[in-house]
């Protein structure tokens, strides 16, 4: 039914090469394995789903050994394909428990715990968050007090707010936990440390030789894990949003509704400008985030290499970038998934669409691994620091180097008021516009902060009173980084056809962002009314340019139907027939007459 889908288009094949679909091996291993076939979870109860997940995880570990998959990233992809992108009971065991033992345990401790954990004889979780405490780890209340007389640590959750709360796999699966607790020894608190605690079996506490405290080699290592996970979330944002776009765009090519021209048959809903305006900006965002995700992954690996050589100089920037981009992309992707779902009308609300599942699985990334507003404020702190450095004459490098230009002027506010020559069809000109917007908002936030300080507030109060402005500045900075990375990607492309298509997408991304935030550009004097009118108009023209390639552009993401798990997003477009077949499997349809009829309705109706 999707006319241009009979075979992969040339465009699709070319795009796929460019999108770095580097995990296809793991995909094939998982999807083609008869033992790893997936049943439709929509019809299972919560405890049945848990049962299926544990079963698959146990099987998965065996398969990882059989296939000798050892690279952590390949393990992650394989795991993701086995569970079709859904969270699973061993997430924290594989993602946090094992790595923490590898990174923070002594060789002796590794001997003792690693292999049993690798063989699932030990399943561990990572118990950090407490009922009353989250992102602010200094606030954690669990204590581990060393008792030299027995050479043991005594662990306590002393208050209701200190109960460990949320760790995945803890409720039913794990028998061990890495517990983050405030270490007390010789009457002093040494801050947060990690302890391995058996939780579902009688066991002894972990003894250490004596009561003297030894500092871990570098706090930066723990930092590294956080940066890694946040970088991964940027990739997750791209993945979740691109899956949602695939479903919504394919369905919009199959769904017909109303009439455009009186008397004509109902058109595909993808031909409505309003539908294009909902979906195409999200499609280009999915592409943009894909490139940003790849960039973050590469940067992380590069900087990890440096860190292994003892060079931590780039860590602060990467940390700020990963925090801000984690927040920026997860916010945009969450909202985007819901827009895709609603663009499918009522059917998007059915779990057969796959979209509710993508949303509820993805949206917690706005609140886990660092709540997004807190993340934005961390980035803001880095921006503010950089701005202050530039002001004092230091030369900035990296993504914040644009602040140098700002500070080289005597009166920074004046920079933007000189009308800029902007060509809205020239991507490098638009990158510059985004850069100016970010600079302007950083400058404004810094100015407001100084003003608050001038009102005799202390630093913390002044920071708090400026935080709305600071979050905005961080957002603008991240937006600029995304546009810049997308534009930079274009210069790597030699194939002209691909270059054309991706240039259109990049232009759309940049222009749509301006049209949605026109106030920032007008306020700063970067663009004028005429520019803005042209931007609005150009966005609509680009909708029509993208329309013919829309289905090929989502096909290029190359999600197999088994992964999308969506009746609306099927590759073959045969939506209605399969919706009907799917619905027949509803548990409520197991009997012709549901028992509630006899219990509650029949007594009323027998009066007839």
């Amino acid at each position: 039914m999707l006319g241009n889908q009979k075979q992969k288009s040339k465009l699709q094949i070319k795009l796929q090469q460019f999108l770095f679909l580097f995990h296809k091996d793991q995909e094939a291993l998982a999807l083609n394995d008869p033992e790893l076939q997936h049943e439709d979870l929509n019809f299972l109860s919560r405890s049945e789903r848990y049962d299926v997940a544990v079963k698959k995880s146990a099987l998965m570990v065996r398969k990882i050994r059989e296939h000798a998959i050892s690279n952590p990233e390949e393990i992650m992809w394989f795991k993701s394909y086995v569970h079709r992108g859904r969270p699973e009971p061993l997430d924290l065991h594989l993602g946090m428990f094992l790595p923490t033992i590898l990174n923070q345990a002594t060789p002796e401790q590794q001997d003792r715990f690693f292999m049993p954990a690798w063989n699932l004889q030990i399943i561990g979780t990572y118990a950090q968050t407490e009922m009353g405490h989250g992102s602010f780890i200094r606030g954690l209340e669990t204590t581990a007090t060393y008792d030299p007389s027995t050479q043991e640590f005594v662990l306590n959750s002393p208050t209701v707010t200190s109960i460990k709360w949320w760790p995945g796999g803890l409720g039913k699966t794990s028998n061990h936990a890495i517990v983050l607790a405030q270490l007390y020894t010789q009457g002093q608190c040494k801050g947060l440390h990690a302890f391995i605690v058996p939780i579902r079996r009688m066991g002894t506490h972990e003894p250490l030789p004596d009561g003297t405290y030894m500092k871990p080699p570098s706090d930066k290592l723990t930092y590294g894990t956080m940066v890694f996970i946040r970088s991964m979330i940027v990739g997750d944002s791209a993945r979740a949003l691109s899956q949602a776009c695939t479903i919504a765009i394919r369905y919009s090519a199959v769904r017909h509704q109303s009439e455009l021209k009186p008397g004509d048959p109902e058109p595909q809903i993808l031909d409505y400008q309003t539908q294009q305006y909902k979906l195409f900006p999200l499609l280009v965002t999915a592409y943009a985030f894909r490139f940003v995700g790849n960039f973050m992954r590469e940067t992380y690996h590069r900087i990890t290499g440096d860190m292994n050589d003892g060079d931590y100089s780039q860590l602060p920037e990467l940390h700020a970038l990963s925090a801000g981009l984690k927040a920026f992309t997860s916010w945009v992707a969450s909202a985007g998934i819901e827009e895709c779902r609603m663009a499918c009308g009522g059917h998007g609300y059915s779990r057969s669409s796959g979209l509710p599942d993508i949303y509820v699985t993805f949206s917690p990334s706005c609140t886990y691994e660092g709540e997004n507003t807190v993340m934005m404020l961390q980035t803001a702190r880095y921006l503010f620091k950089s701005y202050t450095q530039a002001k004092s004459g230091q030369k900035l490098v990296g993504t914040v180097s644009y602040l140098n230009d700002l500070c080289s002027h005597i009166q920074p506010q004046q920079v933007a008021s000189q009308p800029m020559v902007v060509d809205i069809n020239d991507i490098s000109s638009l990158v510059e516009a985004y850069q100016l917007r970010a600079a302007n908002l950083v400058e404004a936030a810094a100015r407001n902060y100084r003003m608050e300080l001038g009102r005799r507030k202390n630093k913390e109060e002044a920071w708090n009173s400026t935080s709305i402005d600071l979050v905005r500045a961080s957002g603008a900075h991240c937006h600029y980084v995304v546009v810049k990375l997308f534009a930079a990607k274009l210069s790597e492309i030699t194939d002209t056809a691909i270059h054309d298509v991706l240039s259109t997408l990049c232009l759309m991304y940049a222009l749509y962002g301006i049209s949605k935030n026109s106030g920032d550009f007008l306020h700063a004097g970067i663009l004028n009314d005429l520019h803005i009118s042209h931007v609005h108009q150009r966005v609509k023209e680009l909708l029509a340019v993208i329309r013919p390639n829309a289905v090929a552009l989502v096909d290029a993401f190359d999600y197999p139907d088994a992964v999308l798990a969506s009746v609306l997003g099927r590759y073959d477009g045969n939506v209605y027939e399969h919706m009907f077949e799917w619905a027949k499997r509803s548990p409520l349809n197991k009997t012709e007459v549901h028992q509630s009829f006899y219990k509650y309705l029949k007594p009323l109706q027998s009066k007839l």
């Binding site: 919560r46 049962d51 544990v54 079963k55 699932l120 004889q121 030990i122 399943i123 968050t129 009922m131 989250g134 602010f136 209701v160 709360w165 409720g171 699966t173 066991g203 017909h256 509704q257 109303s258 009439e259 455009l260 021209k261 109902e266 409505y272 309003t274 305006y277 609603m342 009522g346 609300y349 779990r351 509710p356 509820v360 609140t367 709540e371 507003t373 109060e461 009173s465 709305i468 979050v471 026109s518 106030g519 920032d520 007008l522 009314d529 803005i532 209605y576 919706m579 009907f580 509803s586 548990p587 409520l588 349809n589 007459v593 549901h594 028992q595 509630s596 219990k599 009323l604 109706q605």
Partner: protein, 691 residues
Amino acid sequence: MPGTGHCRACSWRGMAAVGAAAKGPYKVQSAINPDIASERTAPGFPLEKLVNLLDGGAERTRIRRAVEHVVNGDTVFSRENEYFLTPTEQYELAVKRAVHLWQKMKELGWMDDGPELQFAYRIMGGNLAFGVHNGVFIPTITELGTDAQIAKWVPLAKDYQIIGTYAQTELGHGTYLRGLETTASFDPSNQDFILNTPKPSSIKWWPGDLGRSANHAVVLAQLYTQEKCHGMHAFIVQIRSLLDHSALPGVKIGDIGPKMAFEHVDNGYLILQNVRIPKENMLNRHSEVTSDGRYIKKSFDKINYIAMVLTRVKVIASEMVIPLSKACVIALRYSVVRRQSELKPGEMEAKILDYQTQQQKLLPQLATTFAFHFMSSSLETFCNQVKVQIKSKGDASSLPELHALSAGLKALISDACSAGVEVCRRACGGHGYSKLSGLPSLYTWVVASCTYEGENTVLQLQTARFLIKCLNKIDCGEPLPQSVSYLYEPVTSHCSAKEKSDFLKPFIYIESYKHRAHRLIKDAGIKLQSLLQSGVEQHVAWNSTSVQLARAAVAHCHYIVVKNFVETLEKLKFEPEIQQVVKMLCDLYALTGILDTTGDFLYDGYLTGKQLDLMTTSQQRLLSLVRKKAISIADALDYPDKQLNSAIGNYDGYVYQRLFEWVQKAPTNAKVNPAYEKYLKPRFRLAQSKL
């Protein structure tokens, strides 16, 4: 403590009793968490009066509390286990509750159209079966049926002797009525109609109460007689046996499977194959088919839409504003109990509501709740006026305005309420993702309203179509309906505000919203006109302008909401203390709306950058003022704990204790873990010897 304090005191005690059972350090220490008690010491306004204002008078507050007393005291209505139920159990409970509520009504003498049911629904939310039966099936018969038809069907339906659904949407067709494929063909030889859903895409899909409960349906179908199609008409079709509830011959029915939420509702599918129904089952108030098959139209076609408009207006209050208001109460209370990080070094961790960013998330949502509450009451009043005009004088002249207004406002309000509930949920951090917070189910409930009763973009474009017609009327010098008469007024080209206090003057911000709406509507009109003049076909021109048209419709509705808020404010002049607090919320709503879309107001220089900076300062100052009263204002929404059903939003502020105690009772914690026995035990045994 003012009135509500007393009332709420009875409701939270029910759960605090559970608190007392906890042992050791995890026990509740005093009646009210001091962190939330300190928020209530000086609300600065008579709380009970604000409660009355929201209820529509002190007498209604009294009735509401009496209803809540009944509901809270009844174990059938207890919601405590709701988050742990399977979909099938949820459906069953919803049926049980609906029947039980009906028995209570009879017992207590509550009227169908009285305030009691409305209040019962307000607190129970979407947890009753037969919403479509009561909310659409019966009203449709009342609106579209003749007196004889009403007399025959409605009493049976009201007694639950028959349960009906409203079968309009099809698998392949939604909002666009003319596209529906189900047919009803008149057979003069038998004096009956033959109904058919001829293709997979014409299977009736989604109707609530259909999958398992209903034995009748109002089916919307294309009427064919004398080989001519006369468009959509409504027919009463019996679909299940009244004896054993099995599907009747030619009828196939089932549930449509799991959804994002609403698992207690049996949304269903319906296939009709040559199902015959008697001639008198066509709802005949506005048209009929004579025995020889002639089609007669008795009254104005558009009248069919009144039922749809009525439903739409009702769901704005019950399905959109209520979830947002509940989410605000939960998130605000949690935000004064949750402490996180340090605001001042060395001091204890700060209440998260003291962070400016948290205020920026939550307080505008609280203001929005009030804006929409007042808007939906005004719209309901207008709707009732139009209904009376039509019924008593046959005067449908206000219908287009009502239709346009209800469509655009439904879209605006459902979008904003859904986004707002999700903001509240995320503002509660990780705990907002726990179902026990109550917030995830409020979101999945409210967000459904963006796509049902008319998909929002389609509705915005309907409003836009009306606005464009109004522009054409201006050209012809014809008068305009009241809500759009501002299009006749001259526009001011610059905002007159000079200092930040000017932005707290309602006429300043009303004027700004008016200016924007005016400009966007006119610009869209000009664009459309210029395309037409350049020879573009009408439908192409409309489609190419539709993004702009939708935007204009939103701006129009936004203006209407702000204006209505200010008008409500003016009516409060004899209650200055209440007026003062409501005005703060009105100012906050209006200014936040401008700051969220600054581009619209800076464009064409209506606001200058300088003015925008002043307004920003003004809005941030408002945040800190509303902050001080936030908990009292939330208390004035007066939801009993039992029906808020949130571990983190209770009146007494004991969040962590309640979370802990509630999960102790969770079914998942009550039994052995079969997955452990089956998959994990053998492996764990191996580790025994090594550790």
